[in-house]
Amino acid sequence: MLHIINKSPLTSVSLNSCVNTAAGGDILLIEDAVYAATKGNAAEAVLQAAMGRFKVYVLMPDLEARGLGDRLMAGVNAVDYGGFVDLTSNNKSCQSWL
């Protein structure tokens, strides 16, 4: 299953709830959730710990828009909107953790 997160991990529990509850699969960070994929952010450990059970992706246009295109954390896969579409078609279902 694809889990889509769109909130900053520093202001919302969405990412935490997702990694604590979801059974695994793919996580895609979009909109303000891309901050979770940046080096040195206080929630970095949450994503690092999740990487064993999830494959983590970040929507690059959203990261670049926020001036952090060069701060991508190791182990996170960058995708464009086409890659976003592929993630939804390659997974049987998807869920937005709004």
Binding site: N6, D80, Y81, F84, V85, T88, C94, S96, L98
Partner: protein, 119 residues
């Protein structure tokens, strides 16, 4: 693949409508069908033809209209959510239609994937 998309936030205030639009465009570019976009909650505000953004900004409403015309995307606005927020036939932008929540359920049943954008 046949896609349904749900938009739960209004234009300009939140990125949801932009993200949904760019996703829809990318899906179509990859040869998928975007069968229906369903606008719910404040998402119904994407459908007003009274929208007038500044010249140097994107026109979110017209962009949806154009996508609907060029790729036969069915843009459906939830009637209950729309009436709550003052969206009616008289201010509905081209390419959109107002209908019931059943249209959202139908998209869930008929589409291979349903992707939600919201807050």
């Amino acid at each position: 693949m046949k896609y349904g998309i749900v938009v739960n936030e209004g234009p300009y205030q939140h990125q949801a409508s932009d993200s949904a639009y760019l996703f829809a465009k990318a899906a179509i570019a990859k040869g998928h069908e975007v069968w229906r976009v369903f606008f719910y909650h404040d998402g119904v505000n994407n459908a007003t033809r009274l929208t007038e953004p500044p010249q140097d900004d994107r026109h979110i409403v017209n962009r949806w209209t154009k996508l609907a015309e060029e790729h036969k995307v069915d843009l459906v606005v939830c009637v209950a959510a729309a009436l709550r927020r003052g969206i009616k036939e008289e201010n509905l932008a081209q390419g959109f239609r107002i209908s019931g929540l059943g249209q959202l359920v139908e998209a869930g049943i008929k589409c291979d994937r349903l992707v939600t954008f919201g807050d």
